[in-house]
């Protein structure tokens, strides 16, 4: 059996429906903006002051049991309890607001006595949470800026703009999905977003690299259709690579998502959806955006001498 995603010689037009892709992307961004400003994100205690207690038992737990245990430990009432593990033998309880050290100690000793295993406890003060979130946003923006400069230097300014639009879209898409599913946003999540950014740019650059190569082969660009054909050919030539790369990385990411530790699950999930978004955006957003922008800039160059004569 030969598996082959070779599309280079097939007659597929990826460009024709570009307005639909742009429309779809704009709709997704709008949905995201509405969701993020209304429902918002489920911020973990890394970003909001609070305390999280993870306990592990040898038996299956229910939410009521865990709540009971906290009351017995000293009248503590968790604001949220989630179960994890194959047989729900792990639980994580969240408390809003920072917890005094004595209470943490009381809870720890209670669960050591009850379950025989030391629970994990983290507490964060509101100030630290805000700083972390701020740093993450600054980091993403600086990374984006650095990437534009590098790409503008190695390629051309317009490639850089298109690449950054695609990567911001990907990061935003992951945030939107986390808002829809109300998954917990924690520190590893930032690492996931930044990885997605890295992959997205990686993917886009590979496509752009091929467009640049094919552009060099053209003596002169004769109108929009010609430019569109160059972009379409380049996309088809790199399609196999795009599919294979995203598939192999997805194997790893999905394995970690489904089989890995619960602590890393939302991290892996962010990477999985980010990878899919990244592939979509480099095929249907970045390259198409570059096509439209490049066409306009070529038109402008053509019109310049004419305009000069008029004046």
């Amino acid at each position: 059996m030969f598996v082959d995603f070779n599309m280079a010689n097939k007659n597929i037009d990826l460009i024709k429906h570009r307005k639909k892709y742009f429309g779809l992307s704009i709709i997704i961004v709008l949905i995201g903006a509405i969701l993020l400003s209304t429902v918002g994100l489920n911020l973990g205690i890394d970003f909001e002051s609070g305390t999280r207690v993870d306990v592990a038992s040898s038996e299956t737990l229910t939410e009521e049991e865990v709540a009971d245990h906290f009351i017995q430990a000293g009248g503590y009432e968790p604001d949220d309890i989630t179960l994890a593990g194959d047989n729900n033998e792990q639980a994580s309880a969240r408390f809003i607001g920072a917890m005094p050290q004595e209470d943490v100690t009381a809870i720890q000793s209670y669960f050591i006595d009850e379950f025989g295993e030391e629970p994990s406890v983290s507490t964060v003060s509101p100030q630290i949470g805000r700083e972390l979130a701020q740093n993450a946003i600054i980091a993403t923006l600086i990374a984006a800026f650095g990437i534009v400069i590098y790409v503008a230097f190695r390629f051309e300014f317009l490639y850089g703009v298109a690449a950054v639009v695609a990567l911001l879209y990907d990061a935003f898409f992951v945030l939107t999905m986390f808002s829809i599913f109300q998954l917990e946003v924690n520190i590893p999540f930032i690492a996931a977003i930044l990885t997605v950014v890295g992959y997205s740019i990686n993917d886009t650059i590979v496509t752009f690299d091929r467009i640049r190569e094919n552009m060099k082969k053209q003596d002169e660009i004769k109108g929009f259709d010609h430019l569109a054909k160059v972009v379409n050919d380049s996309l088809l030539q790199t399609l196999t690579r795009s599919i294979n790369t995203v598939l192999t990385v997805l194997f790893a990411a999905v394995a970690i998502w489904l089989l890995g530790s619960s602590a890393i699950m939302s991290f892996a999930f962010a990477i999985v959806i980010g990878l899919i978004a990244g592939t979509y955006s480099s095929l249907f957003l970045a390259a198409q955006l570059w096509l439209v922008m490049k066409h306009r800039s070529l038109e402008r160059q053509k019109n310049k001498p004419v305009e000069a004569e008029e004046y």
Binding site: V104, P119, I142, I256
Partner: protein, 430 residues
């Protein structure tokens, strides 16, 4: 045998040598890896320094870090990490610490001893204690006490002379640990568990020897003596972030994630071999070497492996695979263009390299920014990602070329398109 056999022989020699090397040293490499808190359990806390007089000097920060370090030594943690973050924060990481509660108490207490009268007037501070002069011992009634050595005997002499002249209860010398404004002896004395450490009557002039007596257990006096010997903190500490991971939860996380990683890598190998045939086998070999090398480099720079770090390692495999895929796709294209195996290999490798470099440098930019702005867990991820990308240049670019080159130059692969996953009828002019 000729040149052909020589090259293929060299290929197998290299692969077998690498296999033996990895098999022999893999366990050592794994043992040398520093595991983060989230993988082996432990305790991490971030303190904000709050100076009493409002100004924090560089000296304050340094002496606080030193005092914390001494306290960590008291706890006997093998690989503690104490780092100053920003302008007024100190992060203490104690991987593998067993008794997290004691650790918290030992670190957090200011350990500022003060000697006061019953009206809470300050008579003497802990600065008058001799360094290392505190000891857990027993009094004549065999009760655990802490004996103190006072360095400023003159001052202590004056204080005790004055007290000894007074009558009960005014001749009480009250010893407080971490006295805070607003606490009063009168109130605390009514309580079952008073906040001061001891209140003893002074009947004679004392100079250098003092003791803290009270209802203590031996553990408590030992703890107190250790704390006092480690020195007080020059500033108050406020806990702004803490993270404690139970040892078994950490171990479970490590095992699950490693297992998931192995499944993921196995799937990648199978897919690569299925799709790229012979080149896929080369990819599987170089990827195995890649994982081994990443761990060696990571240990060499004393990186700490965290959960996100494992994820970065496995995702790094994806990046390395991408380098292979880019090259192989190019080679396949050249083959379909009707080039010979050798010239397809040369042109494909050369053309893919530029793309690989551009794509990876942009990812390194992102990882470097992460390292600079991130906190420990994110930094662990960023370091692993950078190490991964650099290593992938060695294995997926140079290593894969070397191994594939041996076969290509032996001419054993000539015209065997199916070995590359290329259909004969797709080849132009065939």
């Amino acid at each position: 045998m000729g040149k052909k056999g020589l090259r293929i022989g060299a290929f197998f020699a290299i692969v077998i040598a690498l296999g033996v090397l990895i098999a022999q040293t893999a366990t050592d490499v794994a043992r040398d890896t520093n595991l983060g808190l989230d993988l082996q359990g432990g305790f991490e806390v971030l303190y904000e320094l709050q100076p009493d007089d409002g100004e924090l000097t560089q000296e304050d920060i340094q002496s606080t870090a030193t005092a914390l370090n001494q306290r960590v030594n008291v706890l006997g943690v093998s690989e503690p990490a104490i780092s100053v973050e920003g302008e007024d924060r100190i992060r203490v990481q104690l991987p593998g610490v067993e008794d997290q509660q004691t650790a918290r108490e030992t670190l957090g207490t200011e350990a500022e001893l003060s000697f006061r009268d019953i009206d809470d007037n300050l008579l003497m501070t802990g600065e008058s204690l001799q360094q290392g002069g505190s000891q857990a011992t027993f009094n004549e009634n065999n009760e655990p006490i802490v004996s103190l050595t006072i360095s400023d005997g003159e001052l202590f002499g004056e204080i005790t002379t004055e007290l000894a002249q007074k009558s009960y209860p005014e001749n009480l010398l009250v010893i407080w640990l971490d006295y805070e404004e607003g606490m009063s002896f009168e109130e605390e004395a009514q309580k079952e568990d008073p906040a001061f450490m001891s209140a003893a009557t002074v009947q004679q002039t004392l100079t250098t020897d003092a003791s803290i007596t009270g209802n203590f257990t031996l553990e408590e006096t030992e703890f107190l003596a250790d704390i006092l010997n480690a020195g007080s903190l020059p500033v108050s500490l406020e806990e702004v972030y803490s993270n404690a991971v139970g040892a078994s939860l950490g171990e479970q996380a490590l095992q699950q994630t490693l297992f998931a990683g192995m499944i993921g890598v196995a799937l990648i190998f199978l897919y690569m071999i299925g799709y790229y045939r012979f080149m896929g086998i080369i990819a599987a070999i170089t990827l195995s070497v890649y994982i081994y090398l990443v761990m060696i480099f990571f240990n060499a720079i004393q990186g700490v492996l965290t959960l996100p770090g494992i994820a970065a390692l496995i995702l790094g495999v994806g990046m390395a695979v991408d380098a292979n895929i880019l090259t192989y796709e190019r080679i396949k294209e050249e083959l379909k263009d009707g080039k010979s195996v050798k010239s397809a290999y040369i042109a494909g490798s050369r053309r893919a390299l530029g793309t690989i470099i551009d794509a990876n440098i942009t990812t390194i930019i992102a990882a470097a920014v992460m390292f600079y702005f991130g906190t420990s867990a994110v930094q662990g991820f960023a370091v692993m990602l950078i190490v991964s990308i650099l290593t992938s240049f060695i294995t997926a670019v140079w290593g894969a070329r070397l191994l594939l080159g041996l076969w290509v130059n032996s001419r054993a692969l000539n015209r065997k398109y199916w070995l590359f996953g290329v259909k004969g009828r797709d080849v132009r002019g065939l």
